[in-house]
């Protein structure tokens, strides 16, 4: 019962704090251990990754990363012996498994696609979102509430339901499996988040700044550019990161609407297959590389996180 002294005038006792700390650290371990396990797996050799019991201590190897970035073919030992000396670590590792590197895998192009599509759509969504948010924040727009609800409601649609007509539309327009098509789609999904978040941020900037600037002879547009935008930088950056994370993580549209040239990393990573089943170290390596930017962003965003995940509904 000592735990219930949440906000009482008496500060939580050291005992309560100890129990609280233990519970939270235990839960944090549940959160982080699966991720650490994937990270560790990416440095295991394929036999180590499927050992029983699961290996906690192992000889680290970058074979998973080698397999992630290359495609390999099996060869006879005679063929391999006839080759010149191995060039680099990956070559050597692969040869020990009686294989030779046949060429680069699709991981790098898919990763680059993810970067292009995520950054492209984020830029567009934040650009459109900033303009709209300013419009909704500062001017009397007829039916503003309805328009804002309409903008948000587009985000409630189940992605597969949206994907059916989009698939047909893109087929007609020649946008199937193109980066442009994916950028347009992700912009449309993200712009709702951008408008709602940025409206909150711009609402917090006092109107007096612009009014003062306009009295000094600035036009409305100049006032927006010179006073509002600089003040909104934090909000714009936070919004951009949220849009970036969504586009980076998105799977449903990418899996249904791209198959080759414009495919992003999320639908690609699960398809990494080695001989006799999934090549788990390579999958883990791809997952690790894919998740690192998100970890960095989460740490950067931690103060704005609450706002972002609730469309600005909860601000503190």
């Amino acid at each position: 019962m000592s735990l219930t002294t949440a906000h009482s005038v008496v500060a939580p006792s050291s005992n309560a704090k100890l129990i609280a700390g233990t519970i939270i650290i235990a839960y944090a371990l549940i959160s982080i251990v699966p991720l650490l396990w994937i990270f560790a797996t990416s440095f295991k050799t394929p036999p180590d990754s499927i050992a029983y019991p699961p290996k906690i201590v192992f000889q680290p190897s970058i074979e998973g990363y080698c397999n992630l970035f290359t495609t390999r073919t099996r060869q006879t030992p005679e063929y391999i012996n006839a080759l010149g000396p191995a060039t680099g670590f990956c070559d050597e590792t692969v040869r020990k498994r009686n294989m030779v590197i046949a060429g680069p895998s699709n991981f790098l192009p898919r990763f680059v696609n993810s970067l292009i599509i995520a950054f492209g759509s984020t830029f567009c969504a934040v650009f459109l979102g900033t303009l709209s948010a300013y419009g909704f924040s500062r001017f009397k727009v007829p039916l503003a509430d309805d328009l804002l609800f309409f903008i948000l409601s587009t985000r409630f649609m189940p992605p597969i339901a949206v994907a059916i007509p989009i698939y047909l539309m893109y087929r007609e327009l020649g946008l199937s499996d193109t980066a442009l098509g994916m950028i347009l789609l992700y912009t449309a999904v993200n712009v709702s988040l951008a408008v709602w978040l940025l409206k909150g941020f711009i609402d917090e900037i006092p109107r007096e700044y612009e009014e003062a600037a306009m009295i000094d002879g600035y036009t409305r547009l100049q006032a927006f550019w010179r006073t509002v935008l600089p003040q909104a930088t934090t909000g714009i950056a936070a919004t951009a990161i949220f849009c970036l994370i969504f586009a980076w993580n998105e799977y449903a549209f990418a899996a249904l609407l791209t198959s080759g040239t414009a495919q992003t990393a999320p639908p690609f990573i699960p398809t990494i297959i080695g001989e006799g089943g999934q090549d788990w170290p390579a999958v883990a390596a791809g997952t690790t590389i894919f998740l690192v930017p998100i970890l960095v962003f989460t740490i950067l965003l931690r103060k704005q996180l609450l706002r972002g995940i609730t469309f600005g509904a909860v601000r503190k």
């Binding site: 906000h7 649609m157 449309a188 998100i294 740490i299």
Partner: protein, 315 residues
């Protein structure tokens, strides 16, 4: 240029007139700023939605674009409502949504309430806890498939170690009884931090003086929890439930990669059924009708919920 002239005139004119003139140029600017967003959403969201509504009345199949399209009227909708598989999918979805929300709310609220004690280092550990919800659901589903592998998977190993069940028998993904719980566990692992974060904001929004007053009235800790903490945090809890409910009703990525709807169709939630109908059986018209029904359902639920939310807030 035009704006500046308007401003100069505006400053020289009396207040009511000035307001009017500024209002006009502002109005133009407002539409200039807002219309690109609206146009984009009309093109990418609303136009396809109407197309889907049209398709839902036809027998169109996307893999046979040259076939003559027949108008079926409401036949697709009638067939869906009588389709046994669709009802099973809806039940699976309901089971998934109910248990994920229950578990996430209970665990999330408890964690928030514990973190609110602000022990040393709580900020660091909170950030660690928040990591899973930022990840890609597809990638999470995929690597949990590895953790669930019988014998070699970490999860299966820990379970068999703790319970003593032979390691080859812990088959989370291929056992008909366990598979629905496998997806619930992953979703809870991933999204409990989300509920926790919102609940924490709710707890921190309760002003200190209310507790001080309760203390003066000698209300017990138990009483304080039930009459102050819980009711005042309730709007936040409901907000979290609303967002999670909608998201999980649409759930696709994580389940698709973890089980693909299997074994059989035991984890086939609505979106997976929709994908199978639309992109594997290519029954475009039929699946459009199902998509519209799902869309209306999400919308209806969201609307009811938002109203409930406002009522709670007014209290």
């Amino acid at each position: 240029m035009l704006n500046r002239t308007a401003d100069n005139v505006a400053r020289a004119t009396p207040e009511p007139l000035a307001k009017k003139i500024r209002g006009i140029s502002d109005k133009g600017l407002a539409w200039l700023f807002i219309s690109p967003t609206i146009l984009l959403l009309l093109a990418i969201n609303i136009f396809p939605l109407f197309w889907a509504i049209y398709l839902s009345f036809t027998n169109y199949r996307a893999n046979r674009p040259n076939e003559v399209v027949k108008n079926l009227g409401l036949a697709n909708y009638q067939r869906i409502l009588g389709d046994h598989d669709i009802w099973i999918a809806m039940q699976t979805t309901a089971h998934f949504v109910f248990w994920t929300i229950l578990l996430q709310t209970v665990i999330g609220f408890t964690l928030a309430w514990v973190i609110d004690r602000k022990f040393r280092g709580h900020a660091f550990w909170t950030t660690i806890i928040l990591v899973p919800m930022m990840l890609s659901p597809a990638v999470v589903g995929n690597f949990w498939r590895f953790l669930y592998e019988p014998q070699i998977g970490l999860f299966s190993y820990v379970i068999s170690f703790v319970t003593g069940i032979p390691p080859t028998n812990v088959q989370m993904l291929s056992n008909v009884e366990l598979a629905p719980w496998a997806i619930i566990i992953v979703d809870t692992w991933m999204w409990t931090p989300y509920v926790m974060l919102i609940c924490l904001a709710g707890l921190r929004s309760i002003p200190e003086y209310i507790y001080e007053a309760a203390e003066v009235d000698r209300a017990s800790n138990w009483r304080q929890f039930w009459s102050i903490t819980l009711p005042m945090a309730l709007p936040f809890i409901m907000l979290a439930v609303l967002f999670r409910g909608i998201e999980n009703f649409k759930m696709f990525d994580m389940v698709n990669l973890l089980t693909g709807g299997g074994p059989g169709s035991t984890t086939e939630v609505a979106s997976i059924t929709l994908k199978r109908q639309a992109f594997e059986s290519w029954r475009t018209g039929y699946s459009s009708a199902f998509a519209i029904i799902l869309f209306v359902a999400v919308f209806g639920l969201a609307n009811i919920y938002v109203k409930a939310l406002n009522k709670v807030k007014q209290r």
